[in-house]
Amino acid sequence: MSDLESFRAETRSWLEKNAPSELRQKATDPDAIVWGGRRPTYVYPQSKRWLDVMRERGWTAPTWPKEYGGGGLSKVEAKVLAEEIFRLEMPPPLYGFGLQMIGPTLLQYGTEEQRTEHIPRIVRGEIRWCQGYSEPNAGSDLASLQTRAVRDGDHFVVNGQKVWTSYGNFSDWMFLLVRTDPDVKKQSGITFILLDLETEGVSVKPIKLISGASPFCETFFQDVRISVENVVSEINAGWTVAKALLGHERSMIGSVFGAGRRAKKRTDVLVETARRTLGEREGRIQDDVQRDRVAELLIDQACFELTVQRSHDGAKAGQKPGPESSIFKVYGTELNQRRHEAMQSMRGPSAVGWEGPGFSEEDLQQTRDWLRSRGNTIEGGTSEVQLNIIAKRVLGLPD
């Protein structure tokens, strides 16, 4: 038995013993997502146990170094672990911007002190992170951000405002971009810094969306003092760090609409909605016009998933990463919107429901999801920005 095979066997038996059976089959259940933080919540009580056993082994971040509490697994081992978790259809033990975004960034750009302070707490889910990038006047043109940080001894004093902070009201720390030099080219005067949101002068206010939900916040800074030790990389070198992180965010958002179980579920929901609302004969959607539209969407979905797969396969085969993140972002989000528009059409008069009575829970949720989907092509870099990136970086078209 090879090392990898024995690793698989051990992992499997360990999971069989330690993965709470109540969470199995819940891989895509949004309620099974655990965000951690100082005030953690668990919809399913077993989620806490699942986090506990996994973080003990560092398996919330399987490939991160052991010295910072990570799993220390090789890529192939981590893949085996993922497959075994997938086999049981377990949800991930922990999720969030700490694991997905700031953790890898600190491993790449952080000081030893920063890593020692933050990485273990991310791995253990003790701190929930959020992102402070956009501002009211710095959307697509992010580099024009105006939140000022003025040096005062060993501290920066920060004044300004951030918007579109996902779950800012539930988070403990924020990584943010501040302007430390207003007199140079806009990209050159930006610093990437870390902030404990319990610091004096920070206030957070949720933003209500057209869908009725409030997943984002505005964050205001009034004379907030941050130690210079919290600067990641150099002062005024924040744009480089931010760009690395943005590419990561784009693929995250794109891949959410891409392959895997979520995509499968989305496919099923579309077909089921068509059958339910338009009628079926032996499973065949009755309305030929809408059936054609469903097929068109699912062909595009298949092409998109295959492109995500091709990108992964290419990366594994050592090909240089291409413009995938922009492609995935622009296409994945628009595809999701087209899917929601199609389902609204299929649902007919039932698509106008906001609250009961007279509308099913499913109808109400689909209406809100449709409205939410309109934001997909705006957040994380608008479609227009992605198309600009493709035109410039891939096609080499002139400015």
Partner: protein
């Protein structure tokens, strides 16, 4: 048929635009929504509209009306649509009142009430299983010695909460989707067996579910001759559809104007975003679609007023085009507004929600394409 506003229509448009500019309807709509107001409109503002004579527009002078037509109603509703005005002009006049008028209802006090704005009469024709087919009627009308006994459920009754009476479609014979066997009945809200439940729509407009449990009606409650119900319903809904298209036209024009304004103001990368050619071209395409929609709306209203053979087909042209143009406009409006367009605090989202609500009223584009094809004989 001339596709221009005559002098009287221009005056009417001006009056309506003035009322709209004085009265911040969108603010009112937002407040009523947040308060979960059951009626979803202001009785005072509606009274003002009646005073201006708008509730009388499409009725003959014999009936106490203004002797005008759908074209004039369209002029007013386009202006109201600009501010997403929620007052129930369309429902009470174009659906309720026109049913009473076309159905030659004997008890004239109802139509008088609609015309002077003191009463609201709503049309209850949709059912849980009817989708967009007005001839899909499961509600039963059982003949009794003195009249009829009605049992069934109606949904999506526009402005149905707080109405004084309902025009209800019910079937005395025939298959569920047959045109034959349908009659329309006037059902006052206070009659026994009537139950009204408020529906909450995405566009914050007033709507209701109407449950009729063995409602006893006299024979005189029927509109028109027996068996005329389906034809009557078609005529009334066609007129209301043209009028709704005019309202949609106003709404999409406003959403577009706000977006173009925003494109001139919003600065990113050191320039107004309206200077980006990709956005310019998209805005120009939206503009063209709205221009086309305007022509279709004007033509449909005038063809109905003239009793033109092509009227029904033109109503389908208008509703198909307006449904798609309004959604396109609203989607582009939110996208171009960016993040702020996704917030409930900003008004532009109300246009997106109304685009969906209006699309699903009287048939969406796909429905009207099919109807247009059938009416065109292919």
């Amino acid at each position: 048929m001339k596709l221009v506003l005559d002098d009287d229509q221009q005056l009417l448009a001006k009056t309506a635009a003035e009322l709209v500019s004085r009265d911040d309807a969108l603010k009112r709509l937002r407040r009523l929504r947040d308060e979960k107001n059951e009626n979803g409109y202001s009785k005072e503002v509606y009274a003002k509209m009646a005073e201006l004579g708008w509730t009388a527009i499409p009725f003959s002078t014999d009936q106490g009306g203004a002797g005008l037509g759908v074209a004039e109603m369209a002029v007013v509703l386009e202006a109201l649509g600009r501010a997403l005005t929620p007052e129930p002009l369309l429902s009470s006049v174009m659906l309720g009142g026109r049913s009473l008028a076309l159905g030659r209802f004997s008890e004239s006090s109802w139509l008088d009430g609609v015309i002077d704005g003191s009463k609201r009469v709503c049309l209850a024709y949709q059912e849980p299983g009817s989708r967009f087919d007005a001839h899909h009627v499961e509600t039963s009308a059982e003949k009794t010695t003195n009249g009829y006994r009605i049992t069934g459920e109606k949904v999506h009754v526009l402005d149905g909460s707080g109405a004084d009476a309902y025009i209800v479609s019910a079937r005395s014979s025939g298959d569920t989707a047959a045109a034959a066997g349908i009659d329309l009945f006037v059902v006052p809200t206070r009659v026994g067996g009537v139950e009204v439940a408020v529906q909450r729509r995405v566009d914050a407009r007033n709507a209701a579910i109407l449950r009729l449990e063995r409602v006893e009606l006299p024979a005189t409650a029927r509109l028109g001759a027996s068996g005329e119900g389906a034809a009557l319903l078609d005529s009334v809904i066609d007129g209301a559809t043209a009028a709704l298209c005019a309202e949609m036209l106003g709404s999409m024009s406003e959403a577009f104007d706000r977006t173009v304004e925003y494109m001139k103001e919003r600065v990113q990368f050191g320039v107004p975003i309206g200077s980006f050619q990709a956005l310019k071209h998209r805005a120009a395409r939206v503009f063209v679609e709205i221009e086309l929609a305007r022509s279709a709306v004007m033509a449909a209203a005038r063809a109905l007023d003239a009793g033109d053979d092509r009227a029904r087909a033109l109503v389908s042209v208008a509703k198909a085009k307006c449904s798609e143009a309004f959604l396109l406009t609203a989607n582009e409006a939110v996208q171009i507004h960016g993040g702020i367009g996704m917030t409930d605090e900003h008004d532009i989202g109300f246009f997106l929600k109304r685009a969906r609500g209006a699309e699903m009223t009287f048939g969406d584009a796909a429905f009207h394409r099919q109807r247009f094809a059938a009416l065109s004989g292919y």
